[in-house]
Symmetry: C2
Subunit: 297 residues, 2 copies
């Protein structure tokens, strides 16, 4: 009996933490210890864990991709500001985002006719379908086409101005995602946009991945023009440092910071949104001074 | 020789991390391992460490109070929005904030005549004076009076409407700071405000200290009125979850979200600010939907 008791207390005392970190700072989430999913694909290690504070979480190569509790911060902000600022988006291309939550948000806009999701790793889709139903709920939507292919190759094969919106839903520039931050890839994105089209890319954090945060902005400004790239800020507690950004680059005349509040209000009425609203839209483009300085704005 | 080498490599391989955490999430900063300051005062354990990513940092009872690199996010946002929205502030009372950085910001406003800083623990002032000169640089300012006393007692002894602005610069509601979140204390703060005065209090994070985030808002609304309490958001990478808030409660008719942009622009011209500007002022009061829901707004 004595031994059994000891074993039991040892088990319950064990704690499992997942840390997303660089060499000087770390964000850690406690989880149950069970891996709901784990696979080493051709490209990366994919896990689904169950955290105590944020629900189930998709982890790729030890980086927190999303958690059930706060993923909407990211997925609403990567899609709605650009779509509502443009107002006439029909064709959308999403590169990355195999968990399905970005297309779930995009498909809330009824004027959109067709969405193509290009994900390099089918195992990400599989993990999400199996364990993250609230993210992967739109994979059977009639307007969606899922293509399992390298996004870099896919974009190079587009020869016409085909998309009103391209969303690059990538993670940090490591592994297969690295080439989604290259000049060559981003140039091809611009070419594939219609004349008034918008490109939204994941832009890292000014404190975590600062080099990419700065260099991606510079790169986009070279390709689209100095005044054609806006930084969209949001907060997300399960990404290291909690502050994160998307860049919105405009091929034509659309300024993504300017919107018709009434149009957004109507969209808000018809959809249950966790993060985004018309005040948040405008606020997201207000940059603190330190950030303007970093971005030379 | 062999042994010596081994010892050396062991030493250099050791890593020191400071973790600010609750039971399910943690923010960790790597530091040199040297404690620049450590004292167990009557109230709390006070340390100054040297982090790799954020410079020197003041730590109280293992909670990160501030770091040299991002303290201005906090200290500019706890002071400038309220001061510039009011426009006619003469007398200011700061409770807590013994590191000196809040009064450093407050004293940038030339129309202010007198600032009283009431800090319970003189050892916090000492630590900051010794190791954080960029925070403690205003302790000799002629308009400043430093009082080492319990803020709760201090406010109870104020019998007239004396202050245009009261700032409660506290940390999490544990230890001596706990009573700075009580109904009784906050009622006394309201009484000590002039008829158009403003109270700014540290309001925790919607994801870290959520109970306090919600209950403090409710408490302030009861005391000041449902429409008289605004939530001011900002981001700070060295506080767990990265998103943090202040509450601004208004005794009279001033709405702290409304400001004269020209006035702010003039203030910006005359002061080098790291975070705050007129766009950030307005953006700070835009709340995401999940937060409105939490706060019943």
């Amino acid at each position: 009996m004595q031994i059994r008791k000891r074993v039991k207390s040892y088990k319950s005392a064990r704690e499992f933490w997942l840390s997303d970190q660089d060499k000087n700072q770390a964000l850690s989430l406690r989880y149950t210890g069970n891996l709901l999913f784990e696979k080493n694909s051709r490209f990366q290690n994919i896990k689904v864990i169950d955290t105590y504070a944020y629900g189930k979480s998709l982890i790729i190569d030890n980086m927190i991709m999303c958690t059930e509790k706060d993923e909407k911060h990211y997925h609403e902000m990567i899609s709605h500001p650009a779509i509502l600022a443009h107002g006439k988006i029909k064709n959308v291309l999403v590169i990355g985002g195999g968990d399905g939550a970005t297309v779930r948000e995009v498909l809330k806009h009824e004027n959109i006719k067709k969405v193509i999701l290009v994900e390099i790793d089918e195992n990400v889709v599989e993990a999400s379908k199996l364990h993250l139903p609230s993210l992967s709920c739109s994979f059977n939507h009639p307007k969606l086409e899922l293509v399992i292919e390298d996004g870099v190759k896919y974009i190079k094969n587009i020869t016409t101005e085909s998309y009103d919106l391209i969303i690059v839903d990538s993670y940090d520039p490591v592994g297969p995602a690295k080439r989604l931050f290259s000049v060559d890839f981003l140039r091809h994105c611009r070419q594939a946009l219609t004349s008034n089209g918008l490109l939204v890319t994941q832009g890292e954090s000014p404190f975590f991945g600062q080099t990419t945060f700065v260099s991606l902005s510079k790169c986009l400004k070279k390709i689209f023009g100095e005044k054609k790239v806006k930084t969209l800020l949001f907060h997300i507690p399960t990404y290291p440092t909690g502050v994160w950004c998307f860049y919105v680059a405009s091929k034509g005349k659309i300024n993504p910071a300017k919107v018709n509040s009434k149009k957004i209000a109507l969209f808000e009425q018809n959809n249950e949104l966790d993060y985004y609203n018309h005040e948040v839209h405008k606020a997201a483009f207000a940059l603190p001074n330190y950030m303007k300085k970093l971005l030379d704005e």
